[in-house]
């Protein structure tokens, strides 16, 4: 069965170009880049090249890029490193819709180090409450961690404005840009963030590689304390094949931003409009005028997400849901709850997230099959007459 993949915010296909550049580093160039001998040492230049490719995607200096093992590590290294560098004499400010890589860490640090933590609310469309944010920021030196784009709804936080305010206040600004990188333009010369997290597997590199941007001069303790790799900022022998892969993926992403903005966005819009038109009682979650070009989050009232997903899966369609049942937890996703989505819609939210590999045919396949699935489940529901 053909795989109609609409779950790119969960993970994305490894680009064939990426796999290709990685392979020689398993078979031929498997040396350690820190070695003095030529066999290992020659690998160093490929790592340097990859660092430049990553830096180029976000307009940073290569020396400001630290390779990590994933987005979660980047978020942990940035937030924890900044808090510890400030001897814990800071407030933590984040939002209630962050990925758990940020939210759980902030709660942990707040409890452990007795640091005050503010989780800024969002409105019904997922937009940040800026007044509340300003009040918290005025309370004193802070480490701020706010996401560039939300993984469930695609909604942007106004990171440009926020970073400027944080800088003005003399505080530290981290952004979880895991979902933004590769989908929209991010430029750290324009946007004054101090720290930024990105993850390979969301932009067609493999799982198990990430990077952190650290602006020159930012005080940061390291999370992995060990050898001198990454200029003492992250111990551990470099994961060369994956670093090379991430570099290539970033190069491809830079070339593909225009495609995301135009073609991918148009496919997403067609998918969304097609579903809304053919399935009654559906709503879009999140601000449709302020979100990633690849994401739509649609609620199907009176039916439950997991049963929708299994029905889609039987047709080869991969998507995901914020419903309680899919996560093994008993509550709907914290993002859906924070937005105050009415309970009639909350359990039936489905996220479709596209990528450069989606085509019109995929979108039409979903649109053609969705009404029958929805109708069948609604017929079965005690809440629909």
């Amino acid at each position: 069965m053909k795989n109609y993949y609409f779950d790119n915010n969960a993970t994305s296909a490894v680009a064939p170009e990426v796999t290709e550049v990685m392979l020689p580093f398993f078979t031929k160039y498997w040396g350690n880049p820190s070695s003095i001998h030529e066999f290992g040492g020659q690998v160093g230049k490929y790592v340097r090249n990859a660092r430049a490719q990553v830096a180029d995607l976000i307009n940073a200096d290569p020396s400001e890029i630290v390779f990590t093992s994933c987005g979660t590590e980047s978020d942990n290294a940035a937030i924890r490193g900044a808090v510890e560098a400030a001897n814990c004499n800071v407030n933590l400010i984040t939002s209630c819709v962050e990925h758990l890589a940020v939210l759980s860490l902030c709660r942990y640090l707040s409890a452990k180090e007795k640091i005050s933590l503010a989780e800024i609310a969002v409105d019904g469309k997922g937009n940040l409450n800026l007044d509340e944010f300003k009040r918290e920021l005025a309370k004193g030196p802070a480490v701020v961690s706010l996401m560039w784009a939300n993984n469930e709804t695609g909604v942007f936080f106004p990171i440009q404005k926020i970073a400027e305010m944080v800088k003005e206040a003399g505080s530290i600004m981290h952004t979880d840009a895991v979902q933004a990188i590769g989908k929209i333009e991010v430029d750290v010369q324009k946007t004054p963030v101090d720290l930024l997290a990105l993850s390979g597997h969301k932009l067609h590199a493999p799982k198990g590689i990430g990077a952190m941007y650290v602006r020159k001069g930012t005080k940061l303790n390291s999370l992995l304390i060990g050898g001198h790799q990454e200029k003492n900022r992250r111990g551990g022998t470099e994961n060369v094949p994956y670093i090379v892969g991430l570099g290539k993926a970033c190069e491809l992403a830079k070339a593909g931003i225009e495609d995301e903005r135009t073609r991918v966005a148009a496919l997403r819009d067609r998918l969304e409009a097609g579903i809304l038109a053919s399935c009654p009682d559906t709503t879009v979650n999140g601000d449709v005028n302020n979100r990633l070009p690849n994401t739509t989050n649609i609620s199907f009232k009176y039916i439950e997400g997991e049963s929708i997903l299994y029905n889609l899966s039987d047709l080869g369609i991969a998507a995901s849901s914020g419903s309680a049942c899919t996560s093994g937890s008993l509550e709907t996703s914290h993002v859906i709850r924070a937005m105050g989505i009415p309970f009639t819609s909350a359990h039936g939210s489905i996220r479709f997230s596209l990528s450069r590999y989606n085509e019109s045919e995929d979108v039409e396949h979903v649109i053609a099959n969705m009404p029958a699935i929805v109708e069948r489940l609604r017929e079965m529901s005690p809440f629909v007459d």
Binding site: Y302, I303, E304, G305, E306, S307, Y310, D314, S323, A324, C325, T326, G328, S329, L330, E331, T332, F343, T344, H347, E379, M380, S381, P382, F383
Partner: protein, 283 residues
């Protein structure tokens, strides 16, 4: 992706007995849109008190739909008495097992069945009402329910209880209270299993049964109702049917029928006979 058995996926993809029965003899609904799953069960019975037709409607995940469908297959053709013996574990077993986190779907099936039987026998609503000693406020789960799933499934940890009836699965504030119920049940089970413990004799004469019912009402039920200035009178015992009436505060109370199931019936089943059904005489 859940590790669902083939039987679960089969019942999910091809659910049996979906639909409605107009003017069904028994109707029971549990769960809600807000909770994320709900089941409405409807059945008709023939002259021999056998379930002749059964239909369901479910809002929920794949395992909720599969559990509902399995339940309908299991009970059609059974007498009401036989059907009431179906436990949540039987439903899960029928499906070749459910993931731990999804056991509450099988509990929902058993609860809907009991609600429908209650409706059939009393003519009053069999829907579950949230009242009594609620322990988990997020999902509205009472102490009695937690005690019951703990006992019936031999649960040992708070996490188990959450998997079976959702209690403790949201904010988690009630986890200590749930642990308290588990500890109490485990202590009681230990006593019951000890050699000195004398189980109530299985076969009772009707007089013995009435005495035991009276004793239970006196010692176990009246003290609970008295806390709310309520009382209870035993009106009649007819086979497995116990007829009572509420007095004082309980009589006009809109949660009376919950108290009925959650307190009166639960205690009588525990101390007298497992298959007792208690109905209220309306004045």
């Amino acid at each position: 992706m859940w590790d669902y058995t083939e039987q679960v996926m089969d019942h999910f993809r091809n659910p049996r007995n979906v639909g409605k029965i107009e003017d069904a003899d028994g109707v029971g609904q549990v769960g809600s849109l807000a909770c994320g799953d709900a089941l409405k069960l409807m059945f008709n019975v023939d002259e021999d008190d056998r379930i002749s037709e059964v239909k369901f409607q479910t809002f929920g995940c794949a395992s909720a739909i599969a559990s509902s469908s399995a339940l309908t297959e299991m009970i059609v053709g059974l007498t009401i008495e036989e059907a009431l013996k179906v436990t949540n574990k039987d439903i899960a077993d029928y499906l070749g097992g459910l993931p731990d986190e999804k056991m509450h779907c099988s509990v929902m099936g058993r609860e809907a069945l009991e609600a429908a039987v209650y409706n059939y026998r009393t003519g009053t609503s069999g829907d579950k009402i949230l009242a009594g000693t609620i322990i988990c406020h997020c999902f509205g789960v009472t102490e009695e329910e937690i005690e019951r799933v703990t006992r019936e499934n031999n649960l040992k940890t708070v996490e188990d209880v959450t998997h079976f009836c959702k209690a403790g699965g949201a904010c988690g504030i009630c986890k200590d209270d749930i642990q308290g119920v588990i500890d109490r049940v485990m202590a009681e089970v230990k006593v019951e299993e000890s050699p000195e413990y004398e189980k109530p004799a299985k076969k009772m004469t009707i007089v013995e049964k009435i005495r035991l019912i009276e004793k239970t009402i006196d010692e176990e039920i009246r003290p609970i109702l008295a806390k709310d200035n309520g009382g209870i009178d035993l009106i009649d015992v007819d086979g497995n049917k116990v007829v009572i009436s509420f007095t004082g505060m309980c009589s006009g109370c809109n949660v009376a029928h919950f108290t009925m199931e959650g307190v009166v019936q639960a205690k009588l089943r525990k101390f007298v006979q497992e298959d007792l059904v208690v109905v209220e005489e309306k004045k």
